[in-house]
Symmetry: C2
Subunit: 260 residues, 2 copies
DNA sequence: TGTTACAACATGTCATAACAAGTATCTTAT
DNA sequence: ATAAGATACTTGTTATGACATGTTGTAACA
């Protein structure tokens, strides 16, 4: 299709106007009739555009009154388990990573099983310490099947994420994976690099990422120093929601929190 | 309004048919033309009904092909940070709680600030150990302003949740609050009740709940033994989604995991 | 000054109609 | 028998139109 449908173009236009601040939160949009005249289209076309924006929760409509920009077109329902460097940049901290170890290691039952490679296949292991404002705040250990791990061989792992290299440079389409949140005691190796006592509690987040076809690409354990990093969650409770909250509640916000 | 719009009635009817199993996941719904004939309404009315079901993610539509029932109208985007006893029941484990401590305690700067009560106001503190399959798996410490805490005085805290008492018995409308996930070392008191070594890592989840009007009702720290409890997260990655995932990804699943 | 009725304006529902674009099936040509 | 083209079916986009329902402002009346 060479051109977008009109209602989409109009929705795009209105969305841009809102994002530019031409219409502020709480402002009323022009009436349907005025928009019809302005864009020289029929009312159904305007209504589809407005419906689309309403579905995005960017506006709300009220019969007899009009359409209004919502107060908080907030990013909701997103889980910020993103790049370390991205998290830091967003929070206004300088970050860096230091490669501690890159080597081929022997098979490990748990890891090989998790990565779904043969039980005796060797793995590539990548260890890095994550530094923010010159403080070591997290340490991660990543295991990849050898086939993927070799792709990282000559890459700058101090400045690039594994995800970025595999997907960006090698076009390996990585889909989001599963995470596990738990707590662990820092062993001697981790404690050394985090600058904490052996046995100190760390907030451990394990991650296994796969290709969009389902093939496991890497398995990573990240050990966050809880003195510097925790996670905040906020949930909705809508009185509209019928029945009890026994199934759980919708997510409003999942963000990392830093204490530097 | 005495009767529903027709498109809503039709959507309701189709939704019921799907829920009853008249149309199974993957099944194609009748064409728009056939639905127009069947319900004796115009096409726009049918299209609005179908659009509504599509917005609910109950069906998907494909141009030239038709509308189909989705494979998984799964419960998604829900965060299962629910009752301890509910989590256990759902996972098929016997659970119980044991009240360890219920007393009025002196003001604490951090807690009083969090609960937004005057800095010198005393608090009610409720400590309980959470037991699953006869194993102590978590320990929680709850602080309430005295006004709310006194309501718990004669309640059976071994078998009822604080939430349940305040909302169920006293009709205090509690909205979901904020949570913080971190890791901590079990002090002597917690270690004793969890049956672990002093200093052992625990997965700490702090929670502050408020009324729907925004008044803080209780603040709770829960210490989960990571040997028995962790949390799994799965995220979506849609190829439809444009731009990078720098803002985070949508939540698919957030569930506790038990190792008993 | 306060209340009520009415008109103007605005969105919601529904109908009829036509053309565009996508998919599957049938027919014709090689 | 297979491939290409035509046709039938299906959903997507857009226009015109009418009536229902909700909101606000103004004028008239008590």
């Amino acid at each position: 299709m060479s051109t977008k449908p009109r209602y989409e173009q109009i929705a795009d236009h209105l969305r841009t106007e809102i994002e530019k601040g031409e219409f502020l939160p709480g402002d009323k949009l022009p009436s349907e009739k005025r928009l019809c005249d302005y864009f020289d289209v029929s009312r159904i076309t305007i209504r589809q555009a407005l419906k689309s924006l309403e579905t995005e929760d960017l506006i709300f409509k009220k019969q007899g009154l009009g359409a209004f920009v919502r107060e908080e077109p907030a990013k909701q329902n997103l889980v910020q388990l993103t790049d370390f460097s991205e998290d830091m940049r967003r929070a206004g901290h300088r970050s860096s990573s230091k490669l501690i170890r890159f080597k081929k290691v022997e098979a490990d039952t748990e890891i090989n099983t998790t990565l779904e490679v043969p039980p005796s296949s060797p793995l590539i292991r990548v260890d890095r310490v994550r530094i923010a404002d010159d403080i070591p705040v997290a340490f991660d250990v990543t295991w990849l099947p050898a086939s993927y791990g070799h792709l990282l061989l000559d890459e700058d792992l101090n400045n690039r994420t594994i995800y970025e290299i595999l997907e960006g440079t090698y076009s390996i389409p990585i889909s989001a994976g599963r995470y596990k949140i738990t707590a662990a005691a820092a062993d001697e190796y981790v404690a050394k690099h985090l600058g904490v006592e052996v046995g100190s509690p760390v907030l451990e987040i394990d991650r296994c990422s796969r290709t969009t076809a389902g093939k496991k690409v890497y398995f990573q354990k990240r050990y966050n120093n809880p003195k510097y990093i925790s996670y905040d969650i906020e949930l909705f409770r809508n009185d509209n929601v019928e029945g009890s909250s026994k199934d759980g509640l919708p997510l409003k916000e999942f963000t990392p929190r830093f204490y530097f």
